[in-house]
């Protein structure tokens, strides 16, 4: 951006800020009230999008936190200094979000939506119970000396804070982590991102803003009862505004707030009794008309990729087994998918796992990477027991993997996919940079391309680069060479050999016998959940048991 243009933009920005700050001085009552509405919806919508935007977890609970904040102000407003009231509201919002988040964020997205839908109703009933039994009257009066002007300025300040926090969040590693979680939570977990904790943190942050907004707004009403404070229409309006304006970026929601607040003003004036109906019809129309559905509104916010974290340790030397799998089994309601599998992997080896489809190979990998918990047996990585650890913890310990059905984070660029694996690296030392890794797998020229636009082969390469970005000691490849034509296969085999030469230890599940022969020093053959043969590839592939179970005939 050139000098003069920059100065111009700065001047325009300052002028806008000046207008906003002095607004109460020249706007009359009606317009001031409108301004207040725009501001408080902006805060609510931006806070909503802060969580729901990147994670795609649609929260219908905005008014639950807003109402709690309003009620906190009503309860404490007469007796405590105002800053304390605001702090208390923030605390109440955060605590409620923490409790509800802990219970529901581990569940699938749709259960979260449902629970958030009823949350406001639940809290409303709890507040009514409290008011009836403890306070002995429902409905409170809030006499406050707060003028409209002061209200406006408080909201303006809060708006500035929410944008500032949103911006900082976006530029921090949590911003990219959030988008990675929203794009593909499993891939994110396996890249070392603690999805549950991050979702919870941002959920609490978002709820805190909503609660403080409610507290600030409370004096406007003078009289508060649960029906007023917990009006579900507010949750609904916030969702529409944020989605319409664009939930994927920080300044998107405000673009939806302004026109809709004006529209709702017009509606309330002309059709006061039919507000709900018209609101509902508009929303249904919007969702139906969207070509990509509501998900399409989330877009792919382009936030800056933070510099990668410290790089990882060099491969361990020595003959002690890197991975020790001992008697591992995994059952699914009576079906033994993996049955008493044991093997060890020494550093620098490539181990092949082969067997017919349905023999339990992928399930075994899933127990190793933490996607599944073994029903029995022990798994040790460098002496540390992995049983019971979650996927992101295992990833941070240095065990990376690719997936049978390739999992890239579609809305992130190639570079961002790799960077996501670097965000929470706990190892120190030198190692390849993201660019070097991308060059290694052949994606050096595609760094800014969105991952969803890559070819299937390139997506596989990206997955490998992302796994390598974890600076792992052990990589699990789940049919990584599947679907390649002969020349791609040669390149792929050469790449894996190069990785081994650089000190990486690899376990590969494969059907491509050429690759097994070319790369593996040791093979395990699985059938119906158990190991039926092990040894060097040549020996194993001519073992009559293996031939009968798998190859079904002479292998030329």
């Amino acid at each position: 951006m050139t000098g003069p243009v920059r100065i111009l933009l700065w001047c325009a920005g300052l002028a806008l800020a000046a207008c906003l700050v002095t607004y109460p001085l020249y706007a009359n009552g009606y317009y001031l009230a409108l301004g207040i509405s725009v501001l408080y919806f902006t805060i609510l919508a931006t806070a909503w999008a802060m969580f729901s935007g990147p994670t795609r977890y649609i929260s219908l609970a905005t008014v639950a936190f807003f109402g709690l904040g309003a009620y906190t102000a009503a309860v404490l407003g007469e007796t405590m200094p105002w800053p304390v009231v605001l702090l208390a509201a923030a605390g109440v919002g955060a605590l409620t979000a923490a409790i509800t988040g802990l219970s529901t964020l581990r569940l699938s997205g749709i259960y979260f939506v449902i629970f958030s839908f009823g949350l406001a109703e639940l809290i409303r009933q709890l507040v009514i119970w409290y008011e009836v039994n403890i306070h002995k009257s429902v409905g409170r009066y809030l006499f406050s000396a707060v003028t409209q002007d002061v209200l406006y300025w408080q909201l303006l300040g809060l708006t500035a804070v929410v944008f500032l926090v949103g911006w900082m969040l976006g530029r921090s590693r949590y911003g990219l982590a959030l988008r990675a979680i929203g794009a593909d939570e499993t891939a994110a977990s396996h890249s070392g991102i603690d999805a549950t904790r991050i979702k919870l943190g941002v959920f609490i942050l978002s709820a805190t803003f909503m609660a403080v907004t409610g507290a600030v707004m409370a004096p406007r009403w003078t009289y508060i009862d649960p029906a007023i404070a917990f009006n579900p229409t507010i949750s609904f309006q916030v969702v529409i505004m944020a989605l319409l304006g664009g939930a994927g970026s920080l300044f998107g929601p405000v673009l939806g707030v302004i026109p809709l607040v004006l529209l709702f003003e017009v509606l309330t004036a002309t059709l006061p009794n039919h507000f709900s109906i018209v609101l509902g019809v508009i929303f249904v129309f919007i969702v139906m008309v969207l070509p990509n559905g509501v998900i399409g509104l989330f877009g792919a916010g382009r936030w800056r990729v933070p510099a990668g974290g410290p790089a990882a340790a060099p491969a361990r030397a020595g003959d002690a087994p890197l991975l020790a799998v001992d008697g591992v089994s995994k059952s699914f309601s009576g079906l033994r998918a993996v049955d008493g599998v044991s093997f060890t992997v020494t550093p620098g080896e490539i181990i092949g796992i082969i067997g017919p489809n349905g023999s339990g190979k992928t399930t075994l990998l899933n127990t190793l990477s933490g996607a599944l918990r073994p029903s029995s047996g022990t798994i040790r990585l460098g002496g540390i027991v992995l049983n019971g650890m979650r996927a992101h913890q295992i990833a941070r310990l240095g065990l990376a993997r690719t997936f049978q059905l390739v999992r890239v984070m579609p809305d992130l660029t190639v570079a961002e996919n790799v960077a996501a694996a670097r965000l929470f690296s706990t190892t120190n030392g030198s190692g390849a940079t993201a660019s070097e890794l991308l060059d290694l797998v052949g994606l050096g020229k595609l760094q800014e391309a969105p991952a969803s636009e890559l070819t299937y082969i390139d997506q596989k390469r990206l997955e490998l680069a992302r796994a390598l970005a974890l600076q792992p000691r052990l990589v699990l490849l789940d049919e990584w060479l599947a679907g390649l034509n002969p020349s791609e296969l040669e390149t792929g085999i050469a790449l894996i050999a190069k990785l081994r030469d650089r000190g990486l230890t690899i376990i590969m599940v494969e059907h491509v016998m050429d690759a097994i022969r070319a790369l593996c020093s040791h093979c395990i053959v699985m059938n119906a959940g158990s190991v039926i043969a092990r040894g060097a590839p040549e020996a194993v592939l001519s073992d009559p048991k293996v031939v009968a179970a798998y190859l079904g005939g002479d292998d030329a």
Binding site: G334, G348, I350, P356, N357, G358, S359, S452, E453, L454, T455, Y456, E479, A482, G483, L484, N485, A497, H511, V512, M513, D514, R517, A518, L519, C520, S521, N527, A528, E538, A548, A549, L551, G552, G553, D554, D555, A556
Partner: protein, 243 residues
């Protein structure tokens, strides 16, 4: 009876099938061989109507174009697919699964006879009619899946990896059943990992590689063809020795 021409399909950017052509006649067993990921499953799903082929494909069955039809109408025309992973209704019983097989209109007449024949083909099922299918072994589930497909009174049976996850013993039973099915006049299009067994039972073979036709011919000739061994069985070759 079935003619496929210029069949292509894309999963997003990935081209799974490119200009596939094949034909099947009455009472034939045709096998499709190819490496994993070569597009064989997608081919069967395209014929069965579960995925829509790209523009320009021709799929003709008994003289009618079926490329645009939804899956449930293709079943009415007489094509039944036994999908990879069996696709049985796990929470329902064997009897209910087989009864559902006869849901299409073409399968109602003679339903009882057909059921009797299928139970003769797979005696194990007769003993377990009230059992929930998800509690049965892989092999038994495969029998339920094939039985259910046969209940729809098809002219053409499509099988996607029927011996998937089955022990050699159960695989043999499944292939024995396929031979018997062919002898009743049905045509069979088979995609199978177990190359030897499918070459033994098929009349003709098509090779698919990276989504394209890579050859075809009578099964007897294919068995000894080095191309087949390369594409499907993975021949040994001079390779850098592992450390």
């Amino acid at each position: 009876m079935l003619e496929v021409a210029a069949l292509s399909h894309f999963y997003g950017k990935h081209q799974a099938l490119a200009d596939i052509a094949l034909a099947i006649g009455q009472g034939e067993i045709v096998a499709i061989l190819g490496a994993n990921g070569a597009g064989k499953s997608t081919l069967l799903k395209s014929i069965a109507g579960l995925v829509k082929p790209a523009h320009g494909a021709t799929i003709r069955f008994e003289g009618h174009h079926i490329g645009e039809l939804p899956a449930h109408l293709i079943v009415e025309r007489g094509i039944a697919l036994v999908p990879e992973g069996r696709g049985v209704f796990g929470d329902l019983t064997v009897a209910e699964n087989l009864q559902l097989g006869a849901y299409p209109a073409r399968a109602r007449a003679g339903e009882a006879d057909r059921l009797a024949r299928i139970l003769r083909l797979f005696p194990r099922l007769a003993e377990r009619m009230a059992q929930a299918v998800r509690t049965m072994s892989g092999g038994e589930q495969q029998m339920v899946a094939i039985g259910r497909a046969l209940m729809s009174n098809p002219l053409l049976l499509l099988l996607d990896e029927p011996s998937l996850g089955l022990s050699p013993l159960l695989s043999r039973e499944v292939f024995r059943a396929l031979a018997e099915i062919r002898s009743s006049g049905l045509s069979v299009l088979l995609v199978e990992q177990n190359a030897r067994a499918s070459l033994d039972i098929a009349d003709r073979v098509y090779l698919i590689e990276s989504g394209r036709n890579a050859g075809s011919g009578p099964a007897s000739a294919m068995k000894n063809d080095p191309e087949v061994q390369r594409a499907y069985l993975g021949k040994a070759r001079a390779a850098p020795s592992p450390p």
